[in-house]
């Protein structure tokens, strides 16, 4: 039997065509892994076993008939529970959606179904994607597969944990301020937040619409490129979605990066991301990763992104403002209802359903968002934040005149202990300090585990926790960050590419 541990999408596809195994065998192995280990990890909220097994059989039948299949055919995926799959629950880990069943497919799901990918189940998350640890789920706390006392990161913690614990070959998450990249870094897997607009948000339960993007969480950068290429593209149901600018050989560059081009990239190192308070392990791991990246032939250049320190405040004004508007639709009448609510008139229904249905963090953000938008405070908060957002974006535009990509840490420290940051929301918000700017500016960014053996060994002696580094690219230059990431991995973890 093939080991799931080093299995990637690429290897799965090759093995399937060579008939080394069947889709059914592999799908069953994943469900076996889930039934044995998920009671400990809690990555999944619901499973889709019957449909998955049927779909696996139909993929095997196609292959047996000698039909050609897409690269994602039969690939067993985990899907974050804020992405709709028709006929399956989509709770966004909130009590207010506990009984909601999706009535249509998100565009990304439709695209994956066209490729005949397989959905193992829906994964746990912070309620409505609000959090950095997956502790804000109304249903369960997901544990980090690398250390069960620690959080997997969030809000896509279930998806990252499922991939890291070999309970899915790859996963989808969503990223509003770091919700794909931070859990990927904490769990030691790869996570990509695409350029704003590259992937349709149709069928994603909205948190902050000007920041949200769906993206892949995978074992390798190459797998992220494959999944991203399958889900991207203009969708008439999302007016902000788009195709990459014409004249680029985008798809070929994504899937077959050219080392000669990658070598010529100039990598910016922003001083504002290497400040006091950065965890020692993170700093050390960054140095090691930069040395390897430098070994590929790229040049480094010191840069400054002077408004970085204002990005967190800016984000925590704009995002709740959008949250307060997006979550108004959950009124306790449509979608799903709490049954034990006794109310006598319409207003009473709203107050009680929303009061009992939303968790603490959702309530905090709705109230905060209502405040920053209210008359008398709008200029001081919301307008000011949108001005700061422009300054943050200008910083990147200026930097990208001199460099092609920017390399930074993903988070100030490795995975923290469960319960460590739940009391004070500000401490939790600070976990996203390095990931938020890319969302504000709409840029593509990837989180890649620091793979060097020496780091892995040093950390095993101490804490054994993964650390991730981030590469931020120019708008629509996913090929740069994915290309550089792939050559980094081919040097450090060749076994995943053999």
């Amino acid at each position: 039997m093939t080991s799931l541990r080093n299995l990637t999408i690429k290897k799965f596809h090759d093995g399937l065509l060579k008939k080394e195994f069947s889709t059914l065998e592999i799908t069953r192995s994943f469900f076996k892994e889930i039934s044995e280990n998920d009671s400990k990890i809690n990555a999944y909220l619901s499973l889709n076993e019957e449909n998955a097994i049927n779909e696996a059989k139909s993929v095997d039948a196609l292959i047996a008939q000698g039909e050609s299949v897409e690269v994602l055919a039969g690939v067993p995926l985990a899907i974050k529970d804020n992405i709709l799959i028709k006929g399956l629950p989509a709770t966004a880990a909130s009590k207010i959606l506990e009984n909601y069943v999706a009535s249509y497919d998100a565009e990304v799901i439709q695209k994956l179904k066209n490729e005949r990918a397989i959905f193992l189940g829906k994964t746990n998350m912070d309620e409505f994607a609000m959090g950095s640890s997956t502790e804000n789920s109304a249903f369960k706390i997901t544990r980090n597969p690398r250390d069960n006392e620690r959080v997997p990161g969030g809000s896509s913690g279930g998806s990252a944990a499922a991939v890291a614990a070999n309970m899915a070959l790859a996963a989808l998450g969503s990223d509003t301020g770091g919700s794909i990249r931070e859990p990927a870094a904490f769990c030691g897997v790869v996570g990509l937040k695409p350029t704003y607009g590259a992937v349709s948000r149709s069928g994603l339960i909205a948190m902050a619409s000007s920041l949200d993007q769906i993206g892949p969480i995978t074992k390798t950068v190459e797998d992220s490129a494959i999944v991203f290429n399958a889900i991207r593209g203009r969708d008439p149901l999302d007016a902000t979605s788009a195709e990459p600018p014409v004249g680029q050989n985008y798809e070929n560059e994504l899937l077959n990066p050219d080392i000669e081009k990658i070598k010529k990239l100039i990598v910016g190192i922003p001083e504002e991301y290497f400040v006091k308070g950065l965890d020692k392990n993170v700093e050390e791991a960054m140095n090691v990763a930069m040395k390897t990246v430098g070994g590929l032939g790229v040049k480094f250049k010191k840069i400054s992104l002077p408004h970085t320190k204002y990005a967190l405040s800016c984000y925590y004004i704009i995002m709740p403002a959008e949250v307060s508007s997006n979550l108004a639709r959950f009124d306790g009448i449509r979608y799903s209802r709490l049954s034990n609510i006794d109310a006598s008139n319409l207003k009473d229904i709203y107050f009680k359903q929303r009061g009992s249905g939303f968790g603490q963090e959702a309530k905090r953000r709705i109230i905060l968002g209502t405040f920053v938008l209210s008359s008398g405070y709008y200029d001081a908060y919301y307008k000011k934040a949108q001005q700061v957002r422009r300054l943050v974006k200008n910083d990147f535009e200026n930097a990208f005149k001199e460099v092609d990509v920017i390399m930074t840490p993903v988070a100030p420290g490795p995975a923290f202990k469960i319960g460590e940051k739940t009391e004070d929301p500000l401490t939790m918000y600070l976990s996203d300090i390095f990931t938020i700017p890319a969302n504000l500016a709409g840029l593509p960014a990837i989180s890649i585990p620091v793979r060097e053996k020496m780091v892995r060994q040093a950390h095993r002696k101490e804490e054994g926790l993964p650390v991730g580094f981030q590469i931020i690219g120019k708008p629509w230059r996913e090929p740069d960050i994915l290309g550089l990431g792939q050559y980094y991995e081919k040097t450090t973890v060749p076994e995943l590419y053999e």
Binding site: Y100, Y104, A239, Y310, L312, S313, A328, T370, R390
Partner: protein, 107 residues
């Protein structure tokens, strides 16, 4: 920038947000919001006069501010097959004989 929220403001915000809060929640929220708004005070020191807010390109009113600056790209106004008809009604929590059932809204 007023960085304090008092209990009256909080109750008003909860009323606007249609969220029922109990006493304990109110106390925790007051404390948390105080800390968060104090953190936002750092923005005061940043001069943004003359900076165009990064709202959407339409900006006819506040409600159209989107923050992404993408151009609206609407689909062609042409006939097409809608495969999603009735999907909202199918999953409505309660329905009877094709009607959607809502809780009584008048006393």
């Amino acid at each position: 920038m007023a960085s304090k929220i008092d209990i009256k403001t909080l109750e008003h915000l909860a009323e606007l947000s249609r969220i029922k809060l109990d006493k304990k929640e109110e106390e925790k929220l007051l404390e948390d919001m105080g800390k968060i708004l104090a953190y936002f005070d750092e923005l005061k020191s940043l001069d943004t006069s003359g900076v165009e807010p990064m709202n959407g390109p339409l900006r006819r009113s506040v409600s159209e501010a989107s923050g992404t600056e993408l151009k609206n790209s609407l689909r062609e106004d042409e006939e097409r097959l809608n495969t999603n008809q009735g999907a909202g009604a199918d999953v409505f929590p309660e329905s009877k004989d094709g009607f959607l059932k809502v809780p009584p809204v008048f006393q």
